[in-house]
């Protein structure tokens, strides 16, 4: 049990470290294309980390293709939900900001 908890903690750490792949650089701005590529590598990294530690903890075995397949599908769904939810939130904020920009523009024209 203790060993499992330890591996869970280390799994969490490695998942968090994956943020460095998609984190913004202080030195330069990434383009949209670069960010998408980074997200793709982040997704691959998360798959590798979860599979590796899942096998270590004993959640599933590498020989059982069905189990591996289910885990990969679950990761894909959760990742997709996360990306879509983040994008939807940002899109909503962008719309609000665009309305404010339009309002500013109209105010400027009235002056």
């Amino acid at each position: 049990m203790g060993k499992q908890l330890f591996f869970l903690a280390v799994l969490s750490l490695f998942c968090a470290l994956g943020e460095f792949i998609i984190m913004e650089s202080e030195e330069r701005q990434y383009s949209k294309k670069e960010i998408i590529i980074r997200f793709f590598f982040h997704y691959l990294y998360m798959n590798l980390v979860v599979l590796f530690f899942g096998i270590k903890i004993g959640w599933f075995t590498i020989l059982n293709r069905l189990e591996i397949g289910i885990v990969l599908v679950m990761i894909a769904i959760i990742y997709l939900i996360n990306v879509i939810a983040s994008y939807a939130r940002d899109k909503s904020l962008a719309e609000k900001m665009n309305q404010k920009l339009l309002h500013l523009e109209n105010q400027q024209e009235m002056k």
Binding site: E24, Y87, D90, A94, M97, L101, Q108
Partner: protein, 145 residues
Amino acid sequence: MKIIVEEPDEQEEDHVIIRCRQMDDTLLQMIQILKRKQKTLVAYQETTAFMLQPEDVFYFEAVDNHVFIYCKDSLYESKQKLYEIELLLGEDQFFRASKSVILNLRKIKSLTPAFSGRFEANLKNNEKIMISRQYVPLLKQKLGL
């Protein structure tokens, strides 16, 4: 209209006081001119100096210890540092969009999400500038959100 010019005390900075019974168009124009002159930017192209109005600037960008001023169709260089420009213009329609860019809010045509909490500003001259995630709260504050 009487015009009086006095020398201020040593500790006092230069200032203009307008005393009037009623504010008219002439006085308003004078105030506008004075306000504009305070924030006029000195910009360079090669060795030629230009005076730019902040409202004509689309954005400032710092690259390799140089600060460049981007207007609609022209590019200039500023001798000031980016943080100095931010201090000068930060209260107006300008805001820090990233570590190396100060953007004019009034030159943004629209904003689109760009993943990872960032936004892409589509400018009126069809350029695109990325707004870093850490500076989005500042943009929201400027827009009153």
